[in-house]
């Protein structure tokens, strides 16, 4: 086997006090931090974890499946909170690509900005990005709810299947391309819609859905200012006449 940093690399175990623990990412490897969260946190009755000096490391707090609150005190890299179940993960900084990718449940909150593919293929739970998100935000989403305080980049919600993407700011080109059943709400300007996405009239149910999501996301906005984008469903079946103009 090629060498891999393992859990037993000799670091002193972290101290748990009143269900709280601090893990210094400059002392513990990502492997050690995730191993602690996967296998030891629950046994030690840990309720709150603070990860110090994350320094943009990738794959922090991935694959969690326990009701724990994780505070990442700084910037995180790719895939932070990936495939999360149950846990509440807060990042006090910016994140790299694919934050909370394929999340099943729980909450991931980014207090700064997010790079590309935020919430990709998420099946459930809530992702909040208080700042802007880059391109492909909510790509392939399958039931996750995403609240973005700022704007999103191009091709956001590409092939989104289910769930809600709420964008308080603007949306760049080709929003909601090839949408399935997911619904997008946009507070600001839409540069352009993607293939098969269309604006639809707002209903009282839409206002309720927006209010609920704003409340859950802790975003203070007026729910009346949003537009609803959903699928025109013209790509649901093969269409000879479409002439590839998708």
């Amino acid at each position: 086997m090629e060498s891999v940093t393992t859990v037993s690399s000799g670091s002193t175990p972290p101290q748990v006090i009143n269900g709280q623990v601090s893990l210094d990412a400059s002392r513990y490897s990502t492997r050690e931090i995730n191993d602690f969260l996967h296998h030891q946190a629950a046994l030690l009755g840990v309720k709150q974890v603070r990860i110090l000096n994350p320094d943009g490391q990738h794959n922090l707090a991935v694959g969690l499946d326990l009701p724990v609150e994780v505070e990442i005190a700084g910037h995180a890299g790719y895939f932070v909170g990936g495939m999360n179940k149950q846990a509440v993960i807060n990042v006090d900084g910016n994140v790299g690509w694919s934050v909370a990718e394929n999340m099943m449940s729980g909450t991931v909150r980014v207090r700064g900005f997010a790079s590309e593919c935020a919430g990709a293929s998420g099946h459930g739970g809530l992702l909040v990005i208080e700042g802007d998100a880059s391109s492909r935000c909510g790509i392939s989403m399958k039931g996750i709810d995403i609240g973005v305080g700022g704007s999103v980049g191009h091709m956001s919600a590409f092939m989104a299947q289910a769930g809600t993407l709420l964008i308080c700011g603007d949306a760049a080109a080709a929003l909601g391309d090839s949408l399935y059943e997911a619904v997008i709400y946009v507070g600001g300007r839409i540069h352009s819609l993607g293939a098969d996405a269309r604006e639809e009239p707002m209903t009282p149910q839409d206002h309720d859905r927006i209010r609920q999501l704003l409340r859950r996301a802790g975003l203070e906005r007026d729910s009346r200012n949003f537009k609803r984008i959903a699928s025109a469903k013209s790509l649901y079946h093969w269409n000879v006449e479409a002439d590839q103009e998708y």
Binding site: M1, E2, V4, T6, T30, R31, N34, D35, H38, H39, H58, N59, V62, G63, D65, G77, Y78, F79, G82, M83, K85, W97, S98, E101, N102, M104, C117, A120, S121, H123, R136, I139, S140, K142, G143, F158, M159, Q161, A162, S178, Y180, E181, L235, Y236, H237, W238, V240
Partner: protein, 454 residues
Amino acid sequence: MSEDRPAPGRHLRLEESYSFSSPVIDYIQHAAEHGLYEIRGLGAKRQLPSFDDLVFLTASLSRYPLEGYRERCETTTLLGTRFAKNPVELNIPITIAGMSFGALSANVKQALGRAATEVGTSTTTGDGGMTAEEREFSRTLVYQCLPSRYGFNPDDLRRADAVEIVIGQGAKPGGGGMLLGQKISPRVAKMRTLPEGIDQRSACRHPDWVGPDDLVIKMNELREITDWKIPIYVKFGATRVREDVKLAVKSGADVVVIDGMQGGTAATQQVFIEHAGIPTLPAVRLAVEALEEMNMFGKVQLIVSGGIRSGADCAKALALGADAVSIGQGVLIALGCNSPHYVRQQTEKIDVTEEYHRLGTAPGYCHHCHTGRCPVGVTTQDSVLEQRLDPDWGATRVKNYLKTLTMELTTLARACGKSNVHHLEREDLVALTVEAAAMAGVPLAGTDWIPGRS
């Protein structure tokens, strides 16, 4: 006598055009009628340089053979020894390829799992997630991570024995999945989070990473989630094999899976199946050379798929440097694909030739997996048709097929003097055609000529 018959004694001259042959005329008429490309199942049908063009130089005076029934020939196969704490250990180097629940019925998934478990090999999920049936019946189950991520979740990931990141497949390298509405049953729709009955197009690129630099990080994420226990395979269709293998290895793959253009599919454009990718024969050689050039041969394992049918094919793939092969279409045929009948209660044969005709085809020619109307109940989600495949009968058939392949493989290995099928080597092979010699990198029979080398 009517006017349109030739006069007595006059020669009727029927000269077919090569450029505009009957199949080409049929293709153009079809295009003109429908204005849409043809979609079909299975793999490339055209004749290609293949393992059939190689033969073994078995032992005689210059080499000792092993006794066929008395001297043991080892077939144990280890996959994923590079990083995984728990590599996959199989009794035979013949695995069952990824095929989705959706393309196949739950009964078929069960039959494959039971057969694989009995002979000690693995099965693989597909574009649609892991079913409870296949997890229950497969001792070793490889979980595919595909661009669509349909049904992908961390619980199934942690239940898997390996994870296979699918970049592409031999039938359509560079293309995404396709499942037509007639196969999107309520259960399939729920697993994929899609409305029932839609024509499903799945993505051709992964949603959360793009190039090989990202793939490094993605693989580490999957390793972190699974605590570095299970191996990560990377599968792609054979195109620029040398470059792709090197990038996969550099990204941290434990196992590389190369699928040649003969590889099958449940549904894709005919133009894709016949005109994209390279045959399995040169793909094996290119992959092996890439591993050798990186000094990773034997450290990263190689699985080869795409048109593997027989023990001879397995032996030749192993001799060229593969660690294992993977079979899709072969096991479907073992389950009765393209047979004129299905079998009820183990013995009673029910003829369904008429149903093939209704699909516009006949037993032996069918590639209508995409319709979901499989007359023998293999590639269907129809609640009536799927009952035609009895999982008990199916498990026995697939087990027999895999056992036959293993016996053929060890027969050839013993005859080459090898006590382990993994000891078969390139030097045991020669080619029957110049093309095969060039593609496989072995000499043309009776010469020491390898075109392009010597």
